[in-house]
């Protein structure tokens, strides 16, 4: 929608809401309007004298309303209702001087046309409209080629595209809606015919189906052929507008193209939908109606259903087990239980290389003992100088232990403290001559 048009529509919407405008028409009011419209057409009237209004109203009441009392009063009320709803307007301006002249408003004419006009798309009307559209577009195309100024483009291209061409396409769309309504009516009619006459209605239903199918096929054929041409001309106009950098004309052309596309799409979808419906009804007529001319099947099925709970039965169907498709092995990850981290409570033995120094020390002690040393201090005096000074303190203990085992050391009650090498003092032991080791 163009911005200007949208602004206008918003303005109209706001004013309708503000003024509380509404329509409340009774069937007799609609009949009255239709009768007035017909009288105007027959008698070439542009407006109606008050007496004519009353006369027409009486005729309408005679035709549709059996209650013929108080006609003048009812006519007065009807005229008043129509005037209040802007369907009739007084046009003479004489006020109280004399009885008025009235005319139907555009709104009233629109309502009457809706009910009266047979605006259903037919092959003839569609061909006429598409041909008129092609002629108009050819003129617009010619004007577009010759247009030099923006003013010429606006007057000779944009204007005709919006008004003439737009109206023609809208006319096709309006008739399409009419045909949609007609199809709906045909569907309803088929249902009603079958409901009323069942088997006797088959031929009439088939006839209705075939008529609509033929109409749709013809329309679609015209649409396919003509919309192609229309779109080609529109494309030329759009190209010319694009070269002339006339955005407004380009947009107007695109809008018409969209409308034409919509018209063509309508033909395709309606034909497809009708085709599905046609097949369904055709099958229904063949398989249901023709095979059950007395409608006994429905009755027997109804009885079967009503008594099913007392005498149930069940249909058997196949249910083969599904083919198993082996899956790849997937290692399922299991969540470990929550536990304290495992601890090795037995400390592993530490591997220690054999101590060569200890062996050497033992041999030195044995040598000292063999050489006849008589006290521990003497042994230490011999051995300790041969040992690294840093290790002497520790060696004293080992030497004492070995001497105690191998030399059967003795000590007096008062054991003397003797200084030995390595700034260490030891309690001295006596070593008798007999040695324990070999």
């Amino acid at each position: 929608m163009e911005p200007v048009e949208r602004d206008n529509s918003l303005h109209v919407i706001a004013s309708i809401h503000r003024d509380g405008v509404g329509l409340d028409l009774k069937p007799v009011d609609l009949c009255f309007l239709v009768a007035l419209h017909t009288r105007a057409g027959q008698s070439n009237l542009t407006c109606f004298e008050e007496e004519v209004l009353l006369d027409v109203f009486e005729q309408v009441c005679d035709a549709v309303d059996s209650d013929g009392e108080n006609l003048r009063k009812r006519a007065t009320h009807a005229i008043q209702r129509l005037r209040e709803q802007r369907l009739l307007s007084r046009v003479d301006g004489d006020g109280l001087l004399r009885a008025g002249d009235y005319s139907m408003t555009r709104l009233a004419s629109g309502i009457v046309e809706f009910f009266m006009a047979d605006q259903v798309l037919t092959r003839e009307s569609l061909s006429l409209l598409t041909k008129a559209l092609l002629v108009s577009l050819a003129q617009v195309k010619s004007q577009a080629k010759g247009a030099q100024t923006p003013e010429e483009w606006r007057l000779n291209v944009v204007g005709p595209l919006r008004v003439t061409v737009g109206d023609l396409v809208a006319g096709i769309e309006r008739r399409q809606r009419g045909l949609d309504a007609q199809q709906e009516q045909v569907r309803k009619q088929i249902g009603e015919l079958l409901e009323a006459d069942w088997f006797s209605a088959v031929d009439r239903c088939q006839h209705l189906l075939d008529d609509t199918t033929t109409t749709l096929a013809e329309l679609n054929s015209v649409l396919l052929h003509d919309t192609h041409q229309i779109l080609a001309v529109l494309s030329d106009i759009e190209q010319a507008a694009s070269q002339a950098r006339m955005t407004e004309a380009e947009e107007a052309t695109q809008r018409v193209s969209e409308q034409v596309d919509r018209v063509a799409a309508w033909g395709r979808t309606r034909q497809l939908a009708w085709s599905t419906y046609y097949q369904y009804v055709h099958r229904y007529l063949r398989d249901v109606v023709r095979l059950d001319p007395s409608r006994a099947l429905s009755e027997r099925l109804r009885n079967q259903l009503a008594g099913w709970t007392k005498q149930p039965f069940y249909w058997v169907i196949a249910q083969a087990s599904k083919i198993r498709v082996l899956r790849e092995n997937a290692i399922r990850e299991q969540r470990p239980p929550v536990v304290r981290p495992a601890q090795d409570r037995e400390v592993p033995l530490e591997h220690v290389p054999s101590d060569a120094e200890a062996t050497t020390l033992e041999e030195l002690v044995r040598a000292a003992l063999a050489s006849g040393r008589t006290t521990l201090a003497d042994v230490l005096d011999v051995v300790l100088p041969q040992i690294d000074a840093a290790k002497r303190f520790a060696a004293v203990g080992r030497i004492a232990a070995q001497v105690a085992v191998e030399a059967a050391a003795r000590s007096d009650r008062d054991r003397p403290w003797v200084q030995v090498p390595g700034e260490v003092e030891v309690e001295d032991w006596m070593l008798p001559g007999g040695r324990a080791h070999a």
Binding site: R187, R302, W308, P312, Y314, I317
Partner: protein, 221 residues
């Protein structure tokens, strides 16, 4: 009679449509004219497929209304029977299919229409009892809710075997296979005799096996 496009079973099996048609038939699906090329395929290969499925102890049934289904008559292929809900809803849908008012809507009806028709034809109390077989005492509101749930479940079940299509919303598109529910009342013979014949042919069972509402399995390989 048209000439078949297939002369050997191998050609049938090699056809790209065979796997899906075979799986559908084995799953209990009814294939009708609305299935288009799948129906045409079964129709073309009918004689070869009949021999093929007979080896599995099954009969490929071609109903005169224009649909196929597989009927296990031996024990080689698994089978089941429809549930009580599916039977009740299926018969109601078949009835709706036959009505002229459905023609106006092109074979489409509403779930609410089905529920209303079912309740009016069977009776609300009988319907509640049929679909709540284990409950002797029931709360009306809960029972009605259970019935609605069972009907919805039945509709899904009927869709899975090709009796109907469920569209968006609550629309139900009725399919030809529904006419199977009228099989016992076709013709002019006594419906009870016709039913006995169908039971003897293995097309129906009179007693529900196992859980009535779960569609008991009859046999199976």
């Amino acid at each position: 009679m048209h000439e078949s496009a297939f002369h050997q079973l191998e050609e049938v099996v090699q056809d790209p449509l065979f796997p899906e048609v075979d799986l559908a038939l084995r799953a209990g699906r009814h294939i009708d004219r609305d299935d288009g090329e799948r129906y045409a395929f079964v129709l073309d290969a009918q004689s070869l497929l009949e021999t093929f499925y007979r080896r599995y102890g099954c009969e490929l049934v071609h109903a005169s209304d224009g649909f196929f289904y597989l009927l296990p008559v031996g024990d080689q292929m698994g089978r089941r029977h429809l549930t009580a809900g599916e039977m009740l809803v299926g018969q109601t849908l078949a009835l709706v299919y036959l009505e002229p008012t459905t023609v106006q809507a092109g074979g489409i009806t509403q779930q609410s229409v089905v529920v209303a028709r079912l309740a009016s034809l069977v009776g609300e109390r009988e319907l509640i009892q049929a679909l709540n077989p284990r409950r002797r005492k029931y709360d009306e509101r809960i029972a009605q809710e259970t019935v609605r749930m069972e009907i919805a479940k039945a509709l899904r079940g009927l869709e899975s075997v090709g009796f109907i299509d469920l569209d968006e919303g609550e629309q139900v598109r009725l399919r030809l296979g529904l006419l199977r529910f009228a099989e016992a009342v076709r013709g002019l013979s006594d419906p009870a005799e016709a039913l006995s014949r169908l039971i003897a042919e293995g097309k129906a069972v009179a007693e529900a096996a196992g859980d009535e509402n779960e569609g008991g399995e009859e046999a199976g390989a």
